[in-house]
Symmetry: C2
Subunit: 123 residues, 2 copies
């Protein structure tokens, strides 16, 4: 597939509930996922919700990683959007899945930017 | 569909190329999209790439909005991930599509967090 971007949509079900509400642990998982995949982190924003739940985004030179958790449902939804050939989103997905200890999970891979007329990927 | 989150994946093709490389204009479009949809912005990170391209994320109380542009391909990929019933992601999508003036576009809607065991949406 000749696409500008790869997008992994990850559903994490029946996760470790303690981790789902631990903003420090979640930030560490997401940063490890970005770093181990070969991404360059440019910015971040993580938020703890009351009474529970964490949202976080990492903007990377190669697009983004996001996470949203619902501890009350044991659920987290993660997204990995990458471009170029140097970053390995599969590796980031692996680290995120391992980090949340879900009993079940799914990964949907979407291709983004497939309608382009030029083939050179410069970003 | 009884889901925790709604996720719109928006492909914007053959956009106004000047806008695709204008970080100020792009930030304004994304903030307008968040505000007009009823979202509460908690954080942001926007980056200009060299020689071209812009990436931006808005973390909102109801999840996130992201944008990545490839001016050289006339393309932008936007994501709107929302939860709860007060935010209208359709409105955010409308504003983003209008803002980039694409000749063609597509919107895929995904439901996130559909495997939960409890039905109450508290986040």
């Amino acid at each position: 597939m000749n696409a500008l971007g790869k997008h992994f949509l990850i559903e994490l079900n029946d996760c470790n509930r303690k981790i789902l509400n631990d903003i420090v642990a979640i930030r560490e998982i997401m940063i490890a996922a970005a770093n181990e995949s070969g991404a360059t982190i440019l910015g971040e924003s993580f938020h703890q919700f009351s009474p529970q739940g964490v949202s976080g985004v990492l903007i990377i030179a190669e697009s983004h990683l996001t996470i949203h958790t619902w501890p009350e449902h044991g659920y987290a939804g993660a997204d990995i959007f990458t471009c170029g050939t140097t970053v390995k989103p599969e590796k980031a997905a692996e680290i995120i899945i391992e980090g949340f200890h879900p009993k079940t999970h799914s990964v949907i891979q979407m291709y983004r930017g497939t309608a382009k007329t030029k083939k050179k990927i410069t970003k």
